[in-house]
């Protein structure tokens, strides 16, 4: 058992036993060596099930939406990328600050379980692309910290117990390539772009996994589930899937915290982050650099304007 897991269990036991929180969301070891799924616990003795390793990739912040109407205080663990989701939910007034206890953990970079070839044979796996591109390996917001984690609201180097391991595995080593895929698609001709995206949208199943995991997708009622919107089709045809993809990207425009979970959970491997990154790149170019979900007082780019914004519509 690693040191972070031990500290996790101790803290969880303490918080639940003292009644400071009614529930706690963390990770547990799954049925395979490469699975560390989310875990909900309410009793101190259940803390023994908590676990943290390089497969605890799930962003738990979206799960807080299940508790948004409750009165109970919930604790949850966040890695650097997840913590921006907390800021997202607070800024969107989805959760109350006093109803959530954020526990920051250091991150060694998450492994890509898609590289598993033999489910019975544990091997060293490569990092997820989103971890190679990571700019916020430390929590941006936290009430408690374990494993030597440090709070940092700025892009920073990995800190805490796993700092050397993270550096060795190359967390954040490809930050500069963040927009590489966007640039590659932009370099295509219009028809190539369309063919590329049609091929992607043909795969979409409309399972809405990308929406369900997303801390920015926190509408009380999603437009794609409303039966009163006659002009939103639910069929999984390429054109309606394109409609869904663009609508989703525009809904999270300026609010996407780049946790990359949408793309990771997609069962059809659609490059969803390419759309999000395209919007982020354009926002940075047009309205000035900003990182959503890093500053509680930060304003959302599409929720404000400047008189001297670029003018192309004269």
């Amino acid at each position: 058992m690693n040191q972070i897991t031990k500290e996790m269990r101790d803290l969880a036991r303490e918080l639940l036993a003292s009644g400071e929180v009614k529930g706690l969301i963390g990770w547990t070891k799954g049925s395979r060596w490469y699975l560390t799924p989310p875990l909900f616990i309410t009793r101190p003795e259940e803390a023994e099930q908590l676990y943290f390793d390089q497969f605890a990739v799930n962003n738990l912040t979206g799960l807080l939406l299940d508790y948004r109407y409750g009165d109970d205080k919930i604790a949850l663990f966040v890695k650097g990328c997840d913590s921006r989701g907390i800021v997202r939910l607070l800024q969107d007034h989805q959760i109350k600050r006093e109803k959530v206890l954020v526990i920051g953990v250091p991150c060694m970079g998450m492994s890509d379980k898609k590289a598993v070839t033999d489910p019975r044979q544990p091997v060293e796996l490569p990092l997820l692309d989103k971890c190679l591109e990571c700019r916020y390996p430390n929590p941006v917001i936290a009430d408690r910290l374990i494993g030597g984690a440090l709070v940092s609201g700025e892009p920073s180097e990995p800190k805490g117990l796993t700092a050397s391991e993270a550096a060795k595995r190359g967390v954040g080593s490809k930050q500069a390539d963040r927009f590489a895929q966007v640039k590659a698609i932009e370099a295509m001709s219009a028809d190539e772009k369309y063919a590329f995206w049609q091929a992607q949208h043909e795969k979409c199943l409309r399972c809405y996994a990308c929406r369900n995991i997303c801390p920015a997708c926190n509408c009380r009622e999603c437009i794609f589930e409303s039966d009163k919107k006659g002009w939103v089709n639910k069929s999984a045809t390429p054109t309606d899937n394109a409609f869904f993809a663009v609508t989703r990207a525009m809904h999270v425009a300026g609010r996407c915290v780049e946790c990359g979970e949408c793309e990771r959970v997609c069962p059809m491997d659609i490059p969803i982050m390419a759309l999000n990154r395209k919007v982020i790149q354009d926002i940075n170019e047009l309205f000035g650099e900003s990182d959503a979900g890093t500053d509680l007082d930060g304003k959302m780019p599409l929720g404000l304007f400047k008189n001297d914004d670029p003018e192309e519509f004269m």
Binding site: W197, T239, F243, D282, I283, F287, F305, E312
Partner: protein, 149 residues
Amino acid sequence: MSAVDNPKQPAKEWEPNIVGFACNWCTYAGADLAGLSRMQYPPNVKLVRVPCSGRTNPQFVLRAFQKGADAVLVAGCHPGDCHYATGNYFTRRRYLLMQRMLEFMGIDPRRFQARWISGSEAPKFRDVVTQMTEEIKALGPNRKLREEI
């Protein structure tokens, strides 16, 4: 069934189908003035009156393309002239992104345009619609994002 819903055009000569979202206070009044002044402009643009250009949801644009529009125009008051003080500033930010997003999806950026046309700018309305119709005629019909029936 509106003309937008029916993609079947007469076979003889193809004419562009342009959907225009016009703000009630400026562009719609400008279009009205163009009519009152007996200005000639192509009948290819179908105006949808919206309370403010900021009311135009990006999904309206996508839906228009799905239902057979060859181009979409969003038009409202000049920045600083919004009836609701700031609506068009948000429109400007939103559609700067939307236009780039459509281009990213492979749609010619000329097929989506936004313009500021005030209530007294009837000649500008005429010119914008005329120019856009000419451009789209040259581009040809849009099949991208179109709903297959």
